[in-house]
């Protein structure tokens, strides 16, 4: 169970800037609050904080790109449906 909790903790600090800031401020306290084992808390105290910040920024860019791509796909689908419907209406006339 702790291994899963550890993955969830990593996911949270990768994605949530507030959680990351609190973790940077006091790594052990944040890790303990998440219910991690003593060994995991100790390991997290030795986190590469520079790498963590760079990783988080890189993931944020990827999420932003995915959002933009998703928006474009939805917009394209809507436009295609709109013009297909119009064309069908025009042909019926």
């Amino acid at each position: 169970m702790s291994a899963r909790a550890f993955e969830s903790f990593l996911a949270r600090i990768y994605v949530d800037a507030g959680a990351r800031a609190r973790f940077r401020e006091n790594p052990r306290a944040e890790a303990e609050r998440a219910g991690l084992s003593d060994a995991e808390c100790t390991a997290l105290e030795n986190t590469d904080f520079v790498g963590l910040e760079m990783t988080a920024r890189s993931f944020a860019r990827k999420r932003q790109m995915k959002q933009q791509k998703g928006f474009l796909i939805s917009a394209t689908r809507l436009l295609r449906r709109f013009f297909t419907d119009r064309l069908a209406l025009f042909r019926r006339r």
Partner: protein, 305 residues
């Protein structure tokens, strides 16, 4: 050199790459479609991102089926998160199973990464801690995936800007343990090896010697960019937006020299597309690196015999 039937000496034109049945292909991207179709004589296969088709309209899947009937296609997943202690979502496995059934790719592949946990979507491939727990979790997920989809995935090593906290195993030991536990082959991303080597201080060539060469079947090559860290140092980001750097071709030669299997090499490019000539030139460079590595392997075997 060898003798022909009449006893004359003839020069044997060795093509080391063909002797091993190696192939070089390209990642399929819609932006490159027209150019890819115009140059299929120089591209052995196409790698398609499977996740782009999981909720695609039927006509798009039909187009992919048509493509796979004309060119060898392989499917590459990016969203399962198989290297996790948490069980992979059945829905994701069913999506891949459906697409594999429809497209009949030569193989399908995924990443040694987790992408979500505790209800949080990370949005990209994250490295889990390299521990016995994640080896077991990955092996269980891979076993489920293989059963449900009907074939084993080829698993790719990922690039990471942070050495995952709480890791107790080296990257090569962790990858080797998962491949052995799940009896899966490796998709070796050489730019990821190069980037991780630079970012975390290990020798990429040594890394290649530490992973089981018999499991090496597929290779990715790509490019990236050096980004500045807040401490002023630089780290290499694997962004697939740049040309393949020379050290990656050198690693490809090394991989070809040690791998006993036919290798399928795929050039990945996700944006900032250069001209098709530039991509084809990189495919050609990959063929030359493979040929050099294979020639070394043949020479070594001859010495040993």
């Amino acid at each position: 050199m060898a003798e022909d039937a009449e006893g004359d000496v003839v020069v044997v034109e060795a093509d080391p790459m063909n002797a091993f049945h190696d192939k070089v292909g390209l990642g399929w991207r819609a932006d490159l479609a027209a150019e890819i179709f115009s140059h299929l004589d120089r591209i052995d296969l196409l790698e398609v991102i499977a996740d782009d088709f999981f909720s695609a309209p039927r006509r798009k899947v039909r187009a992919l089926k048509t493509l796979s009937s004309q060119v060898p296609v392989v499917l590459h997943g990016v969203g399962m998160g198989l290297a996790s202690c948490a069980p992979v979502e059945t829905k994701l496995l069913e999506n891949m199973a459906r697409l594999v059934e429809q497209v009949r790719p030569q193989f399908w592949s995924e990443h040694l990464a987790f992408v979500r946990s505790g209800g949080i979507e990370i949005g990209h491939l994250a490295a889990p801690p390299r521990t016995a727990d994640t080896v077991n979790g990955a092996a269980q997920n891979l076993s489920r995936a293989s059963r449900l989809i009907g074939s084993k995935p080829i698993m790719e090593n990922i690039a990471t800007l942070i050495d995952p906290p709480a890791s107790t195993l080296s990257e090569s030991a962790w990858i080797s343990a998962i491949l052995a536990s799940a009896d899966c082959d490796l998709l070796l991303d050489l730019h990821n090896v190069y980037a991780n080597g630079l970012n975390h201080g290990y020798d990429p060539k040594k890394f290649l010697r530490q992973i089981p060469s018999a499991r090496m079947g597929v290779i990715h090559i790509a490019g990236g960019e050096f980004i500045s860290a807040p401490d002023g140092r630089q780290r290499l980001l694997d962004d697939h937006l740049h040309d393949v750097p020379d050290p990656v071709f050198e690693l490809l030669e090394e991989a070809a020299a040690i791998s006993p299997n036919p290798l399928t090499v795929i050039l990945e490019r996700d944006g900032a597309y250069p001209s098709m000539d530039c991509l084809l030139a990189q495919i050609e460079q990959a063929r030359q690196a493979l040929a050099r590595g294979r020639a070394r392997r043949i020479a070594l075997q001859e010495v040993l015999v």
